[in-house]
């Protein structure tokens, strides 16, 4: 008891806390350095970027940003990225919740077989599958349905490779809804679709936004699928455009920084707004299911 008389516990913790803070602040600085250097570089002249690459730009030089914002191709890429992201997200969330609902709530023969089938998708990620998928796209193209060099093709492939993981995550959430609710609803003559649409979906809405915000980020950041499917620069998405831009203006570090900053800033803003949803979607997928 005498031990506690000298110092209250929170005061005893102070030196320990100081060390923890010093470590964490050092780690934060290491994490932020690349981002800050890039953001500084985006408002420098090329000359400044060469002579003082990591000083604070004073005064900021906005011409690079302005000239990129004035090119129609930037806005075109932004639009393409938005179209793909929105369609992929709506498609994935819609299709996965239908499927997950069936796996979580309805009984039928072959259920386990189909469910296990979807787990194959986890072992066949898009980075491995891209060439096989390209074969099939070419084959579909030969039947007269355009796939290559269409945003549509990118959207369908992105959705297909989001299915496995998200069906499992959502199935977990649907299973967690108490079954008494289902019995009561069916007793009152509710159909499967109405039960799904009017009762289940509103109940799992937080999970749907969590899954949706993760899909949004994955689609927005995706390079590989657009890189393989899209040839015409009219259809390029932002990551694809960024990579080509880097190849073209590789020497002009200030201009590159401005371009990368402009394409990264929407992601960063979205992250600050939706951090909670993103994190809960991610940890639900990985920890709980």
């Amino acid at each position: 008891m005498g031990k506690y008389m000298h110092l209250p516990r929170w005061m005893k913790k102070i030196p320990q806390r100081m060390i923890v803070y010093i470590f964490l602040i050092m780690a934060s600085v290491l994490i932020l350095i690349p981002i800050v250097i890039l953001l500084f570089g985006s408002v420098k002249t090329t000359g400044q970027m060469y002579s003082h690459p990591y000083s604070i730009p004073n005064p900021p030089y906005w011409d690079n940003i302005r000239s990129i914002l004035r090119t129609p191709s930037f806005w075109n890429m932004l639009r393409n990225s938005l179209v793909v992201m929105i369609a992929t997200t709506l498609g994935t969330v819609g299709i996965c919740s239908l499927t997950a609902f069936v796996f979580a709530r309805l009984q039928f023969r072959g259920k386990n077989f189909f469910y296990n089938l979807f787990t194959i998708g986890l072992m066949f990620p898009i980075n491995v599958a891209i060439l096989p998928v390209y074969f099939v796209l070419r084959q579909i193209e030969q039947t007269g349905i355009p796939m290559i060099n269409t945003l549509w093709g990118v959207i369908l492939v992105q959705i297909a490779f989001q299915l496995s993981g998200n069906i499992m995550i959502l199935k977990g959430f649907f299973t967690a809804v108490p079954s008494e609710l289902q019995d009561a609803a069916y007793m009152d003559g509710c159909s499967h679709f109405n039960f799904f649409w009017r009762i289940m979906l509103p109940l799992v809405k937080p999970s749907l936004t969590a899954v949706g915000s993760l899909v949004m980020i994955a689609s927005w950041n995706d390079l590989l699928v657009p890189l393989v499917i899209l040839n015409s620069n009219q259809l390029w998405t932002l990551p694809l455009g960024t990579m080509q831009f880097q190849g073209q203006y590789g020497q002009d570090l200030a201009l590159i920084s401005a371009f990368v900053a402009l394409s990264a800033i929407p992601t960063i803003i979205f992250y600050f707004i939706a951090e909670k949803q993103i994190v809960s979607g991610l940890t639900a997928g990985a920890v709980k299911g």
């Binding site: 239908l98 194959i120 491995v128 992250y271 920890v287």
Partner: protein, 314 residues
């Protein structure tokens, strides 16, 4: 007399209703599953078989595949020094991830802990790189790795503390480590976030009780926190290994697998043969080899650790 008739009637209509209900159920199930199954078969399952087929041909993509060579492509791949180098690089990335990246993530998760004032700030900062695209990350780090000490941040620091500058991405012996530093920067936050969630599932009372029984912080961590976190760690190891096997975009943006294949991974190797040299049959065989490796690892790991946590309770 009426009673049996009545029950008979009732059971008859019930049976009929049940039959109606069943076919209705079946229709709903089919309609609900159809979109997912269609996309999944078309873009995931069917491509696997298509690739197995093409992998047995010497096919450059013009016209139909006719030069059947059996397992020739596979033999060639497994004897190609560049492919072996790419496997070595993947193994190196896996080893470094498990021995450095995940422990760093765990240490930071412990430091951020559960009730440190300001923890949400650190959490936000540490997770930020994960949401940036790999393209942007790659270009950002190319600026830092600029070999000229006047321009590249890392070399300017090396020079400042009196060391020789390093030509990071152009040095065959350094490049894979440089790539690994970038990978760690981008992905440690993901693993840290898993561990933080894992901590939240550990009841505080257990640690409290251990402390009262005289366990110090270190004992508490190794004897209580770590074992209780084991299922989260298993998941994180699984994701890290699977992610390393398929590493592509960051490396393609930063080095294209170079210099002289020094940072080649299996995925960059496949991309090069499939989409740059257009040796589609050969590329297909690489894809199948990667798929088999992912599958062997997944099944082996699941058997070894029961299910990875991320598949359990589903």
């Amino acid at each position: 007399m009426q009673l049996p008739l009545f029950t008979h009637n009732k059971s008859h209509t019930r049976k009929k209703n049940k039959k109606d209900q069943r076919s209705k159920d079946r229709l709903v199930i089919i309609l609900f599953l159809l979109p997912a199954l269609t996309l999944f078969f078309l873009f995931v399952i069917y491509p696997i078989f298509r690739s197995i087929y093409y992998s047995m041909f010497d096919w450059k993509g013009f016209g139909p595949a006719v030069d059947f060579i059996g397992l020739g492509n596979y033999k060639k791949i497994l004897n190609d020094a560049v492919f072996l180098k790419s496997i070595k690089n993947v193994l190196l990335i896996i080893t470094l991830s498990l021995s450095l990246q995940l422990p760093i993530a765990l240490i930071l998760a412990v430091l951020v802990g559960r009730d440190l004032p300001g923890r949400s700030f650190f959490r936000t900062v540490f997770f930020l790189p994960y949401v940036l695209s790999e393209v942007n990350t790659g270009i950002m780090w190319m600026l830092l790795y600029n070999p000229d000490p006047e321009r590249g941040f890392l070399n300017s620091i090396l020079v400042l503390i009196g060391l020789q500058p390093v030509t990071w991405l152009a040095d065959m012996n350094v490049v894979i480590y440089a790539v690994f530093i970038t990978l760690t920067w981008k992905y440690f936050g993901f693993h840290m976030m898993l561990y933080l969630t894992g901590f939240q599932n550990i009841p505080r009372e257990i640690e409290e009780a251990a402390r009262i029984d005289g366990a110090n912080a270190v004992q508490n961590f190794f004897r209580i926190t770590l074992p209780l976190l084991s299922s989260t760690i298993k998941t994180s190891v699984y994701m890290s290994v699977l992610g390393s096997i398929q590493q592509f975009v960051l490396i393609w943006v930063m080095t294209r697998g170079g210099p002289v294949n020094a940072s080649e991974t299996m995925a960059t190797y496949m991309y090069r043969f499939g989409f740059v040299r257009f040796q589609l049959g050969y590329g297909a065989a690489v894809a199948i080899i990667m798929f088999i490796l992912c599958m062997i690892f997944s099944l082996f790991y699941q058997a070894l650790t029961r299910k990875p946590d991320y598949l359990s309770g589903l």
